[in-house]
Symmetry: C2
Subunit: 425 residues, 2 copies
């Protein structure tokens, strides 16, 4: 039986080359950069957050609490060597006991731990033993071995596959995609890595635009010079290197319609920022990409969502992840993200007329109540109050409702006012 | 009463500056370009199509049959002047008869005409008279006047709005979005322009990647150097200028998973092409963008979709538009697009095993039968045969099923073989 948790958790997480700004911020040049950045800042409250981030340990890796499993985002060669370690151990067991098995971290809800300090969902240390010699687990372990083999092939060839392709590569064995998906998650839990580290990726629908320069293999991409279209966020984030940025904050926008307004205005030229949208609910690649730029560039980050329970939920997914993906949470979550708006209290503050507000339906009310039951919202008084206000009024409104005041109200009035007054959650 | 059809239809369509390749291809330099392009071509059959397109009138505007309405894609100043013409006429009517009205082309199915020669759905010449003095049309005409005013504001400010924003800008009048949407379509029909010409845009979800250089206002975008992410297609296509390309064909891909394989491989470097995906069903901006590059660069264009009725339907929407948007068809459709695959006959030809094929469900069978009833499929024997084969077997398969033969089978075997043998519809 093999349990690799302890060995692996002592390794350092970051395998990527040090990034320009993150690295420079650690040395003597930090103050100069800081001075340069602050000179250009428009919003005092955002400036002090940026200053704090640059001086404090915001960019450090999270310290996970006891009883949780350390998962790493690793590069190709580290994933390879972990994989070989597992296989070597299986061979050893075959030679010594003749009864090989592997120990896979459990992904069931009983093994999900809420880390109050970091406000994150994490994977606990419960494991399941999958043995080749047991009738109850032989199918599972055979499928797992096949996926491990496929991952090995992907890593060796340096290419990426999707879950659907993995399923199709051995339909007889997997029978249906639910089975291969589950085993894919097991395989990355077994390696104590993110799924991205196994070169199995999901399709991405996000777009990034604004003050950011990236490298994708040999291509240098300047997200400021891509017109109003922006850069389609690649699902193969392991090939992406964040080069530099003179942005002072990141704005994550739920609705593409709001992004149209921002990009048409080239809003990032006036207000130095990076704009990201997943065009609706957050997909994995967009969340991972957001986390990376926020962490590496130490930027204050804000969401602009509809003023409804679903908008708040989207914000929460960027902030803390979803239960299903618990063991990847640290690589997907942006814990210090702020809910800029549209807040329930904004509807009066920014005079959204009654006729532009919508009635919450049964589903909305149910979701709002569920969210108010969550620990992380109970612990966040302003957020709790805003959801309670929304629920008391049973009213919601979309970002676009602000266009009641004119098409440029969002970019010329609402956002600058929100950022200037620091009126976020 | 005002009917502006005849006056407007005599105007020329293209208001954009002449594009480099399209223009050069018309003069003496054409043969040199052609020779240069052909030297690099990999696929004989694609080469002869490209040669034909460059020499023939493929890039000319469509000749619409009698009895249909000419719709133009116009620039800001032309849209402005058409709008003023309408308003001037209304003012004239107020001064002379005191009973102003406008004549709006009908958008109902009875006024949709199938143009057999060009294989397109077009808008007929039936009109509806909307009068201010009639109780039955006063609400409609008031809403229409308001939308015309909003369009005027958008054009004057040089900004774009979305349908949702238009609705929110006067909720009292429009009451629900269905009403403002209908009037928005009426307004562009009234102006005999595409909706894009009125600066009312829909959000875009497409991505473009490969051998194409664009300009978006002052930004030059090289779609070949955007890594694996690509350029997010902008919904504000009136700001986009197609600069140049050394692509020999365009490949439109339904599934993002297939795009991941193509981009990871930098497939356009080996096979000079432009890759476009709408990540599923085709949105308006992606269709309009595809039409423009196909037309301006005279490139042979192919779709790669799932081998199921929905995939064939997506292909048909790129090719001919959907009924709902009939009057914009000429600006959204790419009539000479070819269905490259995955064809029903490919499943045997490329040895997709039985276990990787899926059973067609009731919905699939219904859609396949509906498609076989369409004139444009009845007139296209190979397409008809392929759908009949699919229906006879009641089998479908996804693009990803090809990964049964290995993750690189799509890029290294299937696509090169299809293009080499000219095995498309």
């Amino acid at each position: 039986m093999i349990g690799i948790g302890e060995k692996m958790s002592t390794k350092t997480t970051a395998k990527r080359p040090a990034k320009k700004i993150a690295k420079m911020a650690d040395d003597n040049a930090r103050k100069d950069i800081l001075r340069g950045l602050l000179k250009k800042t428009r919003f005092d409250k955002v400036r002090s957050m940026l200053e704090f981030n640059l001086q404090a340990g915001h960019a450090q890796d999270l310290q996970l609490p006891d009883g949780t499993v350390q998962i790493d985002d690793v590069d190709n060669s580290e994933a390879h060597s972990r994989l070989h370690m597992i296989i070597d151990s299986v061979i050893d067991q075959i030679l010594t006991s003749g009864r090989p098995s592997v120990e896979v971290p459990k992904r069931s809800s009983s093994n999900i731990i809420y880390d109050e300090k970091n406000d994150l969902l994490l994977l606990g240390q419960e494991t399941a033993i999958k043995a080749f010699h047991s009738l109850s687990s032989v199918t599972d372990i055979t499928r797992l071995a096949r996926v491990v083999q496929i991952i090995h092939d992907l890593l060796t060839e340096g290419i990426h596959g999707t879950k659907r392709e993995i399923f199709y590569s051995d339909v007889d064995l997997f029978e249906e995609q639910g089975n291969s998906d589950a085993v894919i998650e097991d395989a990355s839990a077994l390696l104590h890595t993110t799924r991205n580290s196994t070169n199995i990726v999901a399709s991405a629908k996000g777009v990034c635009i604004g003050r950011l320069r990236l490298r994708d293999k040999s291509d240098i991409i300047d997200c400021e010079s891509l017109g109003s279209g922006g850069w389609g966020i690649s699902p193969m984030l392991d090939n992406i290197e964040i080069l530099e940025s003179d942005a002072e904050f990141v704005l994550v926008v739920e609705k593409d319609a709001a992004v149209i307004r921002l990009t048409e205005d080239r809003w990032w030229k006036k207000y130095p920022c990076i704009i990201i949208t997943a065009k609706g609910a957050a997909d994995i690649a967009t969340r991972m990409f957001l986390r990376r730029i926020t962490k590496e560039l130490r930027l204050p980050t804000f969401t602009l969502v509809d003023s409804d329970p679903y908008g708040h939920y989207i914000h929460s997914v960027y902030m803390r992840g979803s239960k299903r993906l618990s063991y990847e949470t640290p690589f997907l979550a942006t814990p210090n993200i702020h809910l800029l708006g549209v807040l329930a209290r904004d509807l009066d503050e920014y005079k959204v007329p009654q006729k532009c507000r919508l009635k919450m339906d049964v589903q909305d009310i149910k979701r709002a109540k569920e969210m108010l039951d969550e620990e992380f919202i109970k612990n966040n008084k302003p957020w709790k109050e805003d959801l309670e206000l929304m629920l008391a009024r049973k009213e919601k409104a979309e970002i676009q409702a602000l266009s009641q005041h004119g098409f440029k109200y969002l970019t010329d009035d609402y956002l600058p006012m929100k950022f200037s007054t620091g009126d976020w959650i």
